[in-house]
Structures are given as structure tokens and as C-alpha cells.
């Protein structure tokens, strides 16, 4: 089974039960996660909930990181 999500604006299939943490790992995001943050359906997912948060079908996930700017 898989869930269809929108990840950073792109459609993507995730194995059901995939956590935000696992998703970040699959993206090879920096391990400590400093400089990275996640929003699920427009709400911030605190770092402490990355392991237990599992996006459902239709979720909109935004994963952002620090870039030069301002």
C-alpha cells in the first residue's frame, strides 16, 4: 500500500506508514537536521515529532532548508 502526497510541489508515492524522519533520510537531508524544517498541510512539524508523524493520502509536505538570502 502507498499514499499519494505532494512533496515540495511534486506528486510522490510513499510507502504507507513512512515517517517524516524516514522521508528526510531518503532525501539525504543533513542528519542532524539543523537548517531543515518540515511543514505538513501548512503546519510546522516539530523536530521531536518527525519520527512519529506519518503523512497520509493527499498530504502536502514542504521540506525547507537554509539558503542564501536577505
Amino acid at each position: 500500500m502507498s499514499v499519494a502526497v505532494t512533496l515540495n510541489g511534486q506528486p510522490r508515492e510513499l510507502a504507507e506508514g513512512t515517517s517524516v524522519e524516514a522521508l528526510l533520510k531518503s532525501l539525504a537531508a543533513p542528519g542532524s537536521g539543523r537548517g531543515v524544517a518540515v511543514a505538513l498541510d501548512g503546519e510546522v512539524v516539530p523536530r521531536g515529532l518527525w519520527a512519529s508523524t506519518r503523512p497520509g493520502d493527499g498530504s502536502r509536505i514542504e521540506i525547507v532548508a537554509a539558503v542564501q538570502g536577505g
Binding site: 510541489g9 532548508a65 537554509a66 542564501q68 538570502g69 536577505g70
Partner: protein, 269 residues
């Protein structure tokens, strides 16, 4: 040596905050940070690029500079609030340079959305540093909401036009009980000196340095200009006068005319 600056209880030695936008490489940014002597540097948040290697956070860490996250590119209070919350998660800081833009040609702040976002973020415990227009009334309203500083623009972001309305900036400085950071519009070192002479507590500078022909040299120039501005302000500038005022005394001027003749300029003496 010039004195420091305190924002929201944090003491800063440098009155120059660097914006990280526009540098062509992380290496150049790091050298400019060192040359600027900055302790704070802005960063933005964008969708993660899995191909990116070597982050800006590491660059700031190596240079011993703290992250000042911003909400660049936000057009609504809602976007700015969520972006600030993401920044707090990403960087473990409650400081936020709040930008809510109203127009993509001028990048001028949207006062209504800015006020709404500032109010919500202050209530959420953020240390809010709002990028605002040079309107003294709006600056006061932002301060009244609980913002930790106000950051009026000198002129539009990246325009390099300096301070277009020094009168308004002076009014903001005169009234503000929180630090005033001139943000946006600085084109070269002298603009920074003028802002500090006028009474601004700090300047935030990005494009003037990052897009200069030699960013590292410009970083040093702006740093020295900020120090010069602070020294000059402390020293107290002379009053502007409509007419000249001789710096050499008139008294005791010799008379070289033959005996019996007054000097040719006697009538003007």
C-alpha cells in the same frame, strides 16, 4: 573603539548585519563575513535541494556568525508566520527578520500584512525584527506591538539608492525606544556612514557588498564606514549654516597699504 548594540537583551559588538543574498559562492560569503566583522547574518528558507552539498549554516558556523532567519518572499501574514515557525525549528532561534512584501517590482513592505504577522509572531514568543517602510507612524506601531527593533528601508531592496528620505529616518530614530536598523537600499560605504551618523543603531547590508565588484573589500569599507559614522555621531557634527564662518580670526591682520591709505577692503571689514 566604538561601542556596541543591544537587541532584545543580546549584546552585539558590530553594528553591521550582513545579508547573505547575492554572493556568488559560500567561500566569498565567508570571506566577506570576516571582513565585515558581522555577528549576525540573514538566511532564507527554500524547498530543500537534495543535490546541494555544503550548507550555508556551516559557513556561518565557521565564521562564528549567528543566523538571523528571514521570511523573504512572503506576501501574506500567513506565509510569513509559517515561515518564521519553520525557521525557529530549523535554526533553534526565535529571532526573525520579518519581511512581508506587497509588490514584486519594488519589494516594498505590505504594511497591513506586516502588522498582522508581527502581532501574531510577538504573541508566539518570537523576537521580531520587522523590515518596514520609512514611515515613522508604522515604525511606532510595530514597536508598540512589541517588536524588538524596527528596520526601515533606506530605499528599495537591491536598488543601491541609499537613504531616499533621511528626514523620515531621523523621525523614526528620534522617537524609537527600540534599536533602529537601516535595512535595504545601501549602495556603498558612505550610505552606511550617513545612516549611523543620523542615529540609526545598525545597518543591514546585502547587495551593496555581495554584488560589489570586490565584495570582500566592500565588506571592509562598510565596516569602517559604520565605525566612522558612530565616531562622528558621538563627536557631534557642526550646525549647518547658510553663510561661511571663517576659521581664522580677522583680528590682527596687517596693513600693507602706504601710509595714509586704508586697506582696499576696509569697508568690508
Amino acid at each position: 573603539m566604538t561601542g556596541g548594540l543591544t537587541i532584545a537583551g543580546r549584546a552585539l559588538r558590530s553594528r553591521l548585519i550582513l545579508g547573505s543574498g547575492g554572493f556568488t559562492s559560500h567561500e566569498l560569503l565567508e570571506r566577506a563575513l570576516r571582513a565585515a566583522g558581522a555577528e549576525l547574518c540573514t538566511v532564507a528558507l527554500r524547498r530543500i535541494d537534495p543535490a546541494a552539498r555544503g550548507g550555508i549554516i556551516e559557513v556561518l558556523g565557521r565564521a562564528g556568525v549567528e543566523v538571523l532567519p528571514n521570511t523573504a518572499g512572503c506576501y501574506t501574514a500567513r506565509d510569513a508566520i509559517v515561515t518564521a515557525q519553520l525557521a525557529r525549528e530549523a535554526f533553534a532561534t526565535d529571532w526573525i527578520k520579518l519581511e512581508v512584501i506587497g509588490d514584486d517590482r519594488t519589494l516594498l513592505p505590505d504594511a497591513v500584512e506586516l502588522m498582522a504577522a508581527a502581532e501574531a509572531l510577538v504573541a508566539d514568543g518570537f523576537t521580531v525584527l520587522p523590515y518596514t517602510t520609512d514611515d515613522p507612524v508604522l515604525a511606532r506601531r510595530l514597536e508598540d506591538l512589541g517588536c524588538a527593533a524596527v528596520m526601515p528601508l533606506g530605499s528599495p531592496i537591491g536598488s543601491g539608492m541609499g537613504m531616499l528620505n533621511p528626514y523620515n529616518i531621523a523621525l523614526i530614530v528620534e522617537r524609537a525606544a527600540v534599536p533602529v536598523v537601516l535595512d535595504a537600499g545601501i549602495g556603498t560605504a558612505s550610505d552606511a556612514a550617513l545612516a549611523i551618523e543620523l542615529g540609526c543603531d545598525a545597518v543591514l547590508c546585502a547587495s551593496a557588498i555581495s554584488r560589489a565588484h570586490d565584495p570582500v573589500a566592500m565588506a571592509r569599507a562598510v565596516r569602517l564606514a559604520v565605525e566612522a559614522g558612530e565616531l562622528a555621531r558621538g563627536a557631534g557634527r557642526i550646525t549647518r549654516r547658510h553663510y561661511a564662518q571663517a576659521s581664522t580670526p580677522d583680528e590682527g591682520r596687517p596693513n600693507f597699504e602706504p601710509p595714509g591709505r586704508e586697506p582696499a577692503d576696509a569697508a568690508r571689514r
